[in-house]
Symmetry: C2
Subunit: 213 residues, 2 copies
DNA sequence: CGGACTATGTAACAATTATCACGGAAAGCC
DNA sequence: GGCTTTCCGTGATAATTGTTACATAGTCCG
């Protein structure tokens, strides 16, 4: 679906110059993907760079045994750096991207991504800012895994999820959490119970309600 | 120190166009840093992007308690993506970079890094390739930490070190390894002993000789 | 040679995480 | 309601990693 210029102006107010918005409206494809939809899987080629307008997308890193560790979330006006490198280097994806909720995005064709780099300084800025953010995300992820214990990691995991969903009540199973933290369901269940006793959260079947800040 | 055009031509044969080499020779500062020298520390600003010509540089990620986990190594013709993002966003460094051996590099002033992006397509390629490589490095690091046990990590750590040093006999203490894998010296000593019994390596004071492929 | 310092070995124990083996509770479905 | 499936709780036990506490051995240097 094509996009209206007005809509883009509102969305990217102040961030992109007019001519760029104009181009964006011409070549950008608007897509709305439902919760749970896969935007990309490992091994696939990427033919366009998505910019998230609304909703959120989680980026997972798979290993050989079917586990998929969470790397980070993409939210409003984020773009995926992986897709950038993949596009500009025409390589296959090494990650999985899944819509956490209904997500609206604009897909930019590869060749435009490159072309605009030199034409629009705001686009160049955007691209490099994207790289910067993703680098930060990965570094933070590494910090978590290398320096923190599982109970802390679980807590920040849940907190990030709350942020990304804008909602204290998370609909998620212990199994799924375990997968994204690359551990086992039993361990997560135990730690969750522990956190519940500490009044950090409340457990229900398939749901976790976060308490306090 | 300034650099001779001839030298650059040899070094970047086929990778950079002539005019770019010419510019590189004009504004690039050649530096030779000794083993153990810090190229950058967390919190510092970066005023130039280094391209490694010879030698190797390790990139470490510090936490609050003084530990510094190894992220990856930079080697011949690598550039640091962190420095790129730092430069282009004028942010402080979030990592430490240390010369593993005597290392020769060319420092490119920030403004040129940006300017050349649109002027020289080979430079643009180089910059994006750099981002891509660093992303890969970080993903590999994350794989290690999330999916592998310490003994495996130790082994690949040593193997990478062999690669980076081009030498089977590593001059390193258990303490240092422990630091870079974010664990304690005793644990490393134990695992090393274990690996020695499996004939994967031979231990001497301050040295580790890797055996086999 | 005699400290002083650094690096390593190692036992013993604690904490954390992983696995196995269930049982039971909730939800979905005829 | 009864059956099935999914999700969760939990004990028992193992494996891995972290900590404490020393002992020993090499190196440096006077």
């Amino acid at each position: 679906m094509n996009i209206s210029l007005n809509y883009l102006q509102e969305t990217f107010k102040g961030q992109f110059e007019y001519a760029l918005l104009d181009d964006l409206a011409k070549v950008g494809q608007q897509k709305i993907v439902p919760t749970g939809a896969y935007l990309i899987r490992p091994g696939e080629f990427i033919r366009s760079v998505p910019i998230i307008i609304r909703g959120s997308v989680k980026i997972l890193r798979p290993d050989q045994e079917g586990r998929e560790a969470l790397l980070y979330y993409l939210g409003g006006l984020d773009a995926c750096a992986m897709s950038l490198t993949c596009c500009l280097g025409s390589r296959r994806s090494e990650i999985t991207a899944v819509a956490e909720e209904e997500t609206e995005l604009i897909a930019i064709p590869v060749d435009k991504v490159d072309e605009w780099l030199c034409r629009y300084s705001t686009w160049k800025q955007f691209v490099f800012q994207t790289y910067q953010k993703r680098f930060d995300n990965l570094l933070t992820t590494i910090d978590e895994v290398t320096f923190h214990k599982l109970d802390e990691r679980l807590l920040t995991y849940l907190q990030k999820k709350v942020q990304s969903c804008q909602c204290r009540e998370l609909t998620i199973t212990h199994e799924e959490i375990a997968n994204e933290l690359a551990t086992s369901r039993e361990v997560i269940s135990r730690l969750l119970k522990q956190l519940e006793k500490m009044n950090k959260l409340k457990l229900q079947r398939g749901k976790i309600e976060m308490v306090g800040a």
